[in-house]
Structure formats: C-alpha cells, structure tokens
C-alpha cells in the first residue's frame, strides 16, 4: 500500500515540479495523470503496483469533490445578486455542450467507421 501511495504521489509531485519550473498553465494533477499513463504505457510502472490504490481513488472520486462543493457557501451572496442569469447560463450552456459534443462525436464516428458501436461491451 505504501509503494502504491508513493507512486501516485510521485506522479503528482512531478506534475507540481513541471508547473513550478515551466510556469505552464495546466493543473499539476492533469500532468500527473498523463505521466502515470506514460509510465504504464512505456512499462516503467507495472499496473499491479498501483491497481489497489487506483481502484480506491477512482471508486470514490465523486466523494472527494464534496469539500470544494461546500465552498460554494462562501459565494452565495455574490451568486444571489444575479442568480437568474447565472443559473440559466450554467444549466443551459452545460446542456448545449453535452448535446453538441456527443452528437458531433457520434456522427463523425459513424461516418468514419463502417461498424458503429463496435466498442460496446
């Protein structure tokens, strides 16, 4: 378990270092994610070395977002001043992004490959 935790934290720490030294505008966690993908892909890290902790982290990901969600209480006053345009924009725009992205991907995918839905379980 300690080795598993260490490997995840190494990726994150390297991500922090990349951000610190290059000033790149990408979150350290996303750089860490890509480093872990690369590490696994190029067989530097074995999947079984991190499988346990990765499953724990991934299975409970929604839960880890609770504290940042509760932070919204700090901005309630700011939001309540213009809550109608804010709420409408958040909901309307999110629906439009969901539909436009999924439709574009679904259509391009079907025209590109003869057999759609080949990656169904």
């Amino acid at each position: 378990m300690i080795r598993q935790l260490f490997l995840i934290l190494v990726c994150l720490a390297l991500g922090e270092m990349v951000v610190y030294f290059t000033g790149i505008k990408i979150p350290s966690s996303i750089i860490g994610m890509l480093l872990l993908t690369a590490g696994l892909h190029f067989k530097i890290i074995k999947l079984k070395w991190i499988q346990g902790i990765a499953d724990f982290l991934l299975d409970n990901m929604v839960f880890f977002f609770i504290p940042p969600g509760i932070a919204i209480m700090c901005y309630l006053d700011l939001i309540s001043k213009e809550w109608i345009p804010i709420l409408a924009s958040v909901i309307g725009s999110t629906v439009l992004v969901l539909i436009s992205t999924s439709f574009t991907h679904q259509v391009l995918r079907k025209t590109r490959s003869k057999k759609p839905n080949t990656d169904k379980k």
Partner: protein
C-alpha cells in the same frame, strides 16, 4: 470553540450524510437522492445553522479534499487501458472537443447576457466548463472574478454530474464513448467522477474530454470574448 466545529465531528457528519444518501439512493433508485447534491446542501445548512464558517469547516474538509488530486492522477490507469481505442478515434474526439469548447464559451456568455447579467459576471462565466485551477487562470487573464468563476465551475460540475447522463439519454445518445466523452467536456472532474462511477472505460473517455476541453477553452476564451466585444 464549539464541539460541532471539531474536525472529527464535521468529518463524521459529512461522511455520514454521504453514506446515508448513497444507501437510500441504492434502495429507492430516486433521482432526487443524489448523494453529492444532498450532502453539499445538508452540510451547508448545518454549518449555517451552527454558525460555522467555511474556513473552520475546511479544517475537516481538507482531509477529504487531499484525495482529490491523487484521484485525478489515478485516471491515468483507465486512460492507459483505453489508449488503443482512443488512438483510433483521435479525429472524432478532437473535433467534438473543439465544438464543445466553442459552444460552451459562446452559449455561456450569451445566455448570461440575454438575461441581463453584468459584464463582470459574463466574463467570469466564460470558462465555467473546465476544471477549477484552469478556469481560475483563464478568468484572471480575461479580467473576470476568480471566486465567482470557481463557484460557477462547481455549479456546472454538480449539475452535470446529477443530470448529465439523463440529458444524454433524453436526447438518445447511444454510443458509450460519445456519452462519457461529453460528460468530461461539459462538467470537468465531477462529470468524469460520475462517468467513473459507471465504469473505468467511461472514466477514461471522460478524462479525454476533461483534458482537451481544458486546453481548447484556455486557448479560445480570450479570442471569442474579444470577438463578441466583451473584453
């Protein structure tokens, strides 16, 4: 110091409410018993009633939040497992992300403008679809209010995670990759976490949406806002 503001007590309350709503959701299959939404509302209500500030709560919440960045790193595992499938789909994925990024920025600012939002709210809402640290950077660079942007990012995340898959179902999107990809595009980490709750394969595609939309939104937000005359 009140007893209720002790970190262990606040953690017990937070985890207890989350576990209970999750248990009830599994039992009843009710749409309204969404664990993340209920827990956030309930904990805020308790904190407000007890007169506890967010800073005090954060002394407890930071122990949960600690796992957030490592869990995003862990998305590297499903991403690695799906890499060959993603490679085959590079063009549809990239084009759909371009569409999603542009639709997200333009629709977000125009809806706010039509409903009479002030200019600073309009600017702050532009990067709402991407992950918090990126959205704050973008917001700062275009003259928005970072804290306002951060709260909109959270609202988008909660809405997407609660309603995203149901909306996709309503519009009859069938392809699993299209669905999970657009969850990451539309509602960043929380959408991805929701996709991950379905399967690791969904989580991998959703991560692609999270990453690519983050990059495209960072690139396009200043240009689009300038073209629309907001900055």
């Amino acid at each position: 110091m009140k007893l209720i503001s002790e970190p262990y007590i606040l953690l017990t309350i937070t985890i207890g409410i989350y576990w209970l709503t999750k248990y009830l959701q599994n039992k009843t299959n009710s749409v309204f018993l969404n664990p993340i939404l209920i827990t956030i509302i309930a904990v805020i209500a308790i904190l407000k009633a007890a007169g506890i500030s967010y800073d005090t709560y954060h002394e407890a919440g930071k122990y949960i939040e600690f796992f957030l960045k490592p869990s995003i790193v862990a998305l590297g595992v499903p991403l690695y497992l799906q890499i060959s499938k993603i490679k085959k789909q590079v063009i549809p994925i990239v084009i759909s992300q371009l569409v999603g990024a542009i639709v997200g920025i333009i629709s977000g600012v125009l809806i706010a403008k039509w409903l009479g939002a002030s200019n600073e709210v309009i600017i702050s809402i532009a990067p709402k679809s991407v992950t918090t640290p990126l959205a704050i950077d973008i917001s700062t660079s275009i003259g928005g209010i970072p804290s306002l942007t951060a709260s909109m990012v959270v609202m988008v995340g909660i809405f997407g995670s609660v309603a995203g898959f149901k909306i996709l179902q309503l519009f009859k999107v069938k392809n699993p990759m299209s669905k999970s990809l657009s969850m990451g595009t539309a509602s960043h980490g929380l959408g991805t976490a929701q996709a991950m709750a379905i399967s690791q394969r969904f989580g991998a595609y959703s991560s692609m949406g999270l990453i690519l939309n983050g990059l495209f939104t960072a690139l396009f937000t200043p240009i689009i806002l300038a073209l629309l005359g907001f900055i």
